[in-house]
């Protein structure tokens, strides 16, 4: 199972840049880039902060792909 996310899609929908989202969630822009590219899996705390800032439910923002 691969953990994927729709952060880029929802971030662009709400009109945030990566820099702005990073500032709002207290992380670096590189961290947001890594999460959007599925290179880094955020902690639950960061995932909840991101979903809160993007005004989206966490289960919509993050999902599993290839569930057996």
């Amino acid at each position: 199972m691969d953990l994927k996310n729709r952060i880029k899609e929802y971030r662009q929908k709400i009109g945030f840049t990566q820099e702005e989202l990073a500032a709002k969630t207290g992380v670096s822009r590189q961290t947001i880039i890594s999460i959007e590219r599925y290179r880094y899996k955020p902690s639950l705390e960061l995932a909840m902060k991101i979903s809160e800032k993007l005004k989206t439910k966490i289960e919509i923002l993050f999902y599993f792909e290839n569930i057996n």
């Binding site: 990073a22 207290g26 992380v27 670096s28 590189q30 961290t31 890594s34 290179r39 880094y40 960061l46």
Partner: protein, 147 residues
């Protein structure tokens, strides 16, 4: 290749280990069979002189390196959970390598007692330490680029 400030600071460490090896290792390699058995041995004083040079080189290198980094890169460093993850992974590797080095070091010392009082031991210690720093920092940079 666009590097962030954190990646550049790791790169400064990698360059440091390479420069340090190029500047100081040849001297100890050339004197690997020179003994420093006696307290008035001239080689012993030369070694202290070299250690002084190493300390001065390190202080100057890092001062200049980080000053230039802060001057030319105004990006504010934000430390977050990804940095912690990268640090913990790279330092774990560094710790394992230090442990392995210690075993190798003891093994080499026990294998030949003449190494204990010669320039070889300093060369060997420096080689191990620099290798660990180089591998750890390179892995840290790799994680910053790939994770």
């Amino acid at each position: 290749m666009n590097l962030s400030k954190k990646e550049l600071s790791v790169l400064i460490e990698i360059i440091y280990s390479i420069l340090f090896a190029l500047l100081f290792l040849p001297y100890f390699y050339e004197n690997r069979f020179t003994s420093f058995d006696f307290i008035d041995n001239i080689f012993l004083w030369l070694v202290w002189g070299k250690i002084g040079q190493m300390i001065i080189f390190s202080a100057i290198y890092y001062s200049i390196g980080y000053t230039l980094l802060h001057i030319f890169n105004k990006e504010k460093i934000i430390k977050d959970e990804r940095d912690d993850m990268i640090s913990s992974r790279s330092y774990k590797l560094g710790f394992l390598l230090y442990e392995l080095s210690l075993f190798v070091f003891i093994g080499v010392l026990l294998s030949n007692s003449s190494f204990q009082n010669s320039g070889f031991i300093i060369f060997f210690i420096l080689l191990l330490l620099l290798s660990v720093i180089f591998i750890k920092s390179s892995y840290q940079l790799y994680l910053y680029r790939k994770s």
